[in-house]
C-alpha cells in the first residue's frame, strides 16, 4: 500500500507528466570524458540566478528618481537587513559573470565547439555576452552617485559617435535633453525589464540548442560508455557552484564599493572611471584622439565582435585539435592578450584622488553652517530637517543655493531671497560655497582658533580681499600680507584704516569684529609670507 504522499505524486505525474520532464532534463547522456571544462555554463546559470534574486531584493527598496535613488541605495546599504551583503553579492556577482562568460567563450573556441552544427548557438552565446555587458552598463548608473553619473555621461557621449545617426542614438539612451530623471527611469526599465526578458529567452534558446545538438564533448573522442548528466556531471556543476558561491560570498562580505557623493552635474573636477570590464575599451579610446575616436570606440570593438561571429565559417578544417587550428587560435589568443593588456593599462592609469584643497571662504562657510541659527534651527538631531552630513547632500545644486539664501522657502524660486546686510550676504556666499564642497566630503580638521579666524575672515574680509585665489578684488590680495606688513599695522588697519592711510576706501571694523578676533586675524595675516 503506497503512502498518501506517493499517491499524490503519482496523481500529479498522471496529470502533468512531470517525471518525463525531469527524465528529459536530467538524464542526458554525455560523451565519455566530459569534464570540468564543461561546468562553466552551469556556473553562469548559477550566478545569473543569484543576480536575479539579489536584483529582486534590491528592487524592493530602490527608487529610480534623481531625488531618491542615492538615498534608497544608502538605505539598502545601512538599514536593510543584510543589505550591504546583498549589494555586495549583486556587485561582485556581475564581475564574476563577466569572467565566467569570457572563460566559457574561450573554452568553446579552444575546443572548437562552435563548429557545425552549432553555429547558431555560438551566435546566441555572443548575443548573450553583449546582453551581460549591457546589464553591467545600465546597472552602473542606478546608484546615482558621482561615479555612476559621470561614467554614464561618457558612455552616452561615446554613443554619439555612431555613424549616420549618433545624435539619435544618444537621445534614445538619454531619454531627455540631458542626462537626468528620464535617463535614470529608462536605464532602470532596461536593466530590470528589457534585459532580463532578453536574457531569459536567449538562455532558453541556448539550452534548447545545446540539448538538440548534444554537447560537443572532448576534442578527441574518448573510449568508454556515455554517462548521464545526473548525477555525474551535475555533481561537478554543483561543486563549481559551491566554489563560486563561497568566493562570491567572501567578496561580498564587506559589501559593494562605498557609495560616492550623490550625482552632481555641476561638479567640474570629477574624473569618471568605468567598471573594470570596460577599462579595456576606456584605454583603447586614448589611442584615438579627435576625429579618430570613432575607430577606437566603435569600429575596433565592432570588428572584433564581427570576427568572433564569423568564427564557425572561418574555421572549417577537418579536425577540432588545437594544433590543426593555429590559424584561428593564434589570432584569437593575440586578441585576448590585447584585451587583457588594455584592461591592465586602464586599471593602472588611476586619477589622483581628491580635488583641490578647501579655500578659506569654504572652510569659514562650513563653520558657519555648523553654528549659525539660520541652519541649525531645522538641521539638528531633533529638528524638522535632518542634520547636514558631508558627502550626503542629494538635493540639486541650484536648489541648495536658493535654500541657503532663503531657508524659509523650501520650494526654490518662489520669491526673491532677502538681501540683508553686507555681512549677511557674505555669510550666505560663504555657506553656499561650503555646501558645494560638502557634497564631496567633510572640511579639513582645524584647531578652534584657526577655524574662528577663517570664519571671521570669510564673514567680513573675503568680499573685497583675495587669499589663495578666493575672494573679491576690491582690496589688495592678502595671500602674502606678512611680506609687507606687521601684525600691529594690520590690526590697526582693520580697526580704523584711515588712521594709518587717510585716503583708504576700506570701512572700519573696530565696532564690527571683537578686538580678540581682529588681533587673531592680524596675526594670521602677518604669518602669511
Amino acid at each position: 500500500m503506497k503512502g498518501v504522499f506517493a499517491r499524490l505524486i503519482d496523481w500529479f505525474d498522471d496529470r502533468t507528466g512531470f517525471r518525463n520532464l525531469r527524465h528529459h532534463a536530467l538524464d542526458e547522456p554525455l560523451p565519455a570524458g566530459t569534464g570540468w571544462w564543461f561546468t562553466l555554463g552551469s556556473v553562469l546559470l548559477f550566478t545569473l540566478a543569484v543576480q536575479v534574486l539579489t536584483g529582486i531584493c534590491l528592487a524592493l527598496f530602490y527608487a529610480p528618481t534623481p531625488d531618491h535613488a542615492w538615498d534608497s541605495v544608502k538605505y539598502i546599504t545601512d538599514a536593510v537587513r543584510g543589505g550591504s551583503f546583498l549589494r555586495g553579492l549583486h556587485h561582485w556577482g556581475a564581475s564574476i559573470i563577466v569572467v565566467a562568460a569570457l572563460l566559457h567563450m574561450v573554452r568553446v573556441v579552444f575546443f572548437g565547439s562552435y563548429r557545425k552544427p552549432r553555429e547558431v548557438n555560438w551566435i546566441v552565446g555572443l548575443v548573450l555576452l553583449n546582453v551581460i555587458l549591457a546589464f553591467g552598463l545600465t546597472g552602473y548608473l542606478l546608484p546615482w552617485d558621482q561615479r555612476a553619473y559621470w561614467a554614464t555621461v561618457v558612455a552616452i557621449n561615446i554613443s554619439r559617435l555612431t555613424p549616420g545617426g549618433g545624435e539619435f542614438v544618444a537621445s534614445l539612451l538619454r531619454g531627455g535633453a540631458d542626462i537626468g530623471a528620464l535617463t535614470l527611469t529608462r536605464w532602470y526599465a532596461i536593466h530590470v525589464m528589457v534585459l532580463p526578458l532578453l536574457l531569459g529567452v536567449l538562455i532558453a534558446a541556448h539550452l534548447y540548442l545545446m540539448r538538440r545538438q548534444g554537447i560537443s564533448g572532448p576534442v578527441r573522442p574518448q573510449p568508454g560508455p556515455s554517462r548521464m548528466f545526473f548525477p555525474y556531471q551535475a555533481a561537478r556543476d554543483l561543486t563549481m557552484a559551491v566554489v563560486v558561491g563561497v568566493l562570491l560570498a567572501v567578496l561580498a562580505w564587506k559589501g559593494a564599493p562605498a557609495l560616492e557623493p550623490p550625482a552632481d552635474p555641476t561638479s567640474s573636477d570629477y574624473i569618471p572611471r568605468p567598471e573594470w570590464y570596460f577599462l579595456g575599451l576606456f584605454q583603447l579610446l586614448k589611442y584615438f584622439p579627435g576625429r579618430w575616436e570613432v575607430v577606437g570606440a566603435l569600429f575596433i570593438p565592432g570588428l572584433a565582435m564581427g570576427a568572433l561571429a564569423l568564427l564557425p565559417w572561418l574555421d572549417r578544417g577537418r579536425s577540432r585539435e588545437a594544433r590543426q587550428r593555429l590559424g584561428i587560435l593564434v589570432p584569437f589568443t593575440a586578441g585576448l592578450a590585447i584585451v587583457v593588456t588594455l584592461t591592465t593599462l586602464g586599471a593602472r592609469d588611476m586619477p589622483k584622488a581628491g580635488g583641490a584643497d578647501w579655500n578659506i571662504q569654504e572652510i569659514g562657510g562650513a563653520a558657519m553652517i555648523g553654528t549659525s541659527d539660520r541652519c541649525t534651527r531645522c538641521h539638528r538631531p531633533d529638528g524638522l530637517a535632518a542634520p547636514i552630513q558631508p558627502g550626503h547632500i542629494s538635493k540639486p545644486a541650484d536648489w541648495v543655493e536658493m535654500h541657503v539664501a532663503d531657508p524659509e522657502v523650501i520650494a526654490a524660486g518662489v520669491r526673491e531671497a532677502p538681501q540683508g546686510s553686507g555681512t549677511a550676504q557674505a555669510e550666505t556666499k560663504a555657506m553656499i560655497a561650503a555646501v558645494a564642497r560638502l557634497r564631496s566630503g567633510p572640511p579639513p580638521a582645524l584647531d578652534e582658533g584657526t577655524r574662528r579666524v577663517y570664519t571671521e575672515f570669510a564673514r567680513h574680509c573675503v568680499s573685497c580681499h583675495m587669499v589663495d585665489g578666493a575672494g573679491g578684488k576690491d582690496g589688495p590680495d592678502l595671500s602674502h600680507a606678512g611680506l609687507k606688513l606687521t601684525a600691529a599695522t594690520i590690526e590697526q588697519r582693520i580697526i580704523d584704516p584711515k588712521s594709518v592711510k587717510p585716503d583708504s576706501d576700506m570701512p572700519a571694523f573696530g565696532d564690527k569684529i571683537t578686538p580678540e578676533d581682529i588681533r587673531a586675524i592680524a596675526n594670521w595675516l602677518a604669518s602669511r609670507r
Partner: protein
C-alpha cells in the same frame, strides 16, 4: 558489480540533490531576510507640546506636534495632534486620533464634546465615548510640566 555501480550512483544522486537543496535554502534565506521588514522604532520620548500660557481657560488646546518621520529612505513630516487641558492640579492630554478608524477628532465649543468627522463618534471632555461607533475612549498621552521653562511636555 552492477549493483555496486548503481549504489554509487544513487548515493551521488542523493548528495547532489541535498547540495542543491542547501544552496536553494541559503538563497531563500537571503531573500527572506531582505524582504522581511524590520520592526519599526516605537520608542517614545518627551516632547514640548505647548507652554502653560498657551492654554485657553475654557477649552482644550489643540497642540500640533510636527516631526520628521523616516519612511525607509524617504522622509515625511508627520503631524500629531494632542488636546491639552488643565485638569485639577495637573494637565490632561488626549490623542486627537479617533479610536474607531483613525480620523482626527475636533473640539466642538457648542456641545463641549469631541466630534469625529468620519462616522459621527462623540467623546466627552475626558475622552470617554458618548455615542457613535468608537470602541474605546481617546488615548491618554502622558503629560508633564517643566517647571523651569513652563513647557508642557507630552510623551509620544
Amino acid at each position: 558489480m552492477k549493483t555496486h555501480d548503481s549504489d554509487r550512483r544513487s548515493t551521488l544522486a542523493r548528495l547532489v540533490t541535498a547540495g542543491m537543496g542547501v544552496i536553494g535554502a541559503a538563497l531563500a534565506g537571503l531573500v527572506g531576510a531582505a524582504a522581511t521588514p524590520r520592526t519599526p522604532d516605537t520608542s517614545r520620548k518627551w516632547r514640548k507640546a505647548a507652554t502653560i500660557f498657551d492654554l485657553p481657560p475654557d477649552a482644550p488646546f489643540a497642540a500640533v506636534l510636527a516631526d520628521r518621520h523616516a519612511d525607509g529612505w524617504y522622509e515625511t513630516r508627520k503631524e500629531t495632534v494632542v488636546y491639552l487641558e488643565k485638569a485639577g492640579d495637573g494637565y490632561r492630554a488626549l490623542s486627537a486620533t479617533c479610536s474607531h478608524l483613525g480620523c482626527r477628532v475636533a473640539w466642538n465649543p457648542q456641545t463641549k464634546h469631541f466630534h469625529c468627522p468620519c462616522h459621527g463618534g462623540v467623546y466627552d471632555r475626558d475622552g470617554q465615548v458618548i455615542s457613535g461607533p468608537p470602541p474605546a475612549p481617546l488615548t491618554r498621552v502622558k503629560v508633564r510640566v517643566n517647571s523651569q521653562t513652563s513647557d508642557i511636555e507630552v510623551e509620544l
